[in-house]
Symmetry: C2
Subunit: 107 residues, 2 copies
């Protein structure tokens, strides 16, 4: 059985690049949502910051995530943000632990 | 209008306390899911670790989160984990940025 893949990607804008990063990531959302196997791709800004972003992602499979990483939307984002981020995105993969309500209990 | 509140709480177990922490947090899930205004309360272990946990939470309002923090389930968790965590939970609040599909685009 193919398990969904959950991860958080944290991206920090260089000073002065906050708006570019936010607009670029926001513009990518509809394109990524339309990609095969995209179950969740939810953009957030850390409260109290202007340039620290967290994408919470859930993909139907490792293959779907792999296709996303190599896809057109990510190529565009990568090109637009190449010089706008303070460093490489920090990607943290998560193993879901299920109990209780299956909807409230999973992203 | 009351905005939902999204946050991530990261908890790190002391060495040797990983199982206690995981069991305690897992046991709390059904109780927390039943609390008023709990929209998401999803437990994860960072992949490749045994004792680093991330709870992704969404509450209907600041008031619902406040009631949760003071509620019976959290009192039990707090008592059980008082000496099992390496430090206080790290709570990061997140402002959702919406675009695209409203379901895939939000936790």
């Amino acid at each position: 059985m193919t398990e969904p893949v959950v991860l958080m990607a944290t991206m920090v804008a260089k000073p002065g690049q906050e708006d570019l990063v936010e607009k670029t990531l926001t513009a990518a959302l509809p394109k990524v949502h339309a990609e095969p196997g995209c179950l969740r791709y939810a953009l957030h800004r850390k409260t109290g910051t202007t340039g620290e972003f967290v994408m919470i992602e859930k993909w139907a499979s490792q293959e779907a995530l792999g296709a996303h990483m190599k896809g057109a939307a990510m190529r565009e984002v990568g090109a637009a943000l190449a010089r706008a981020l303070a460093g490489a995105p920090d990607m943290v993969f998560l193993d879901a632990i299920s109990a209780g309500d299956p909807d409230a209990g999973a992203v």
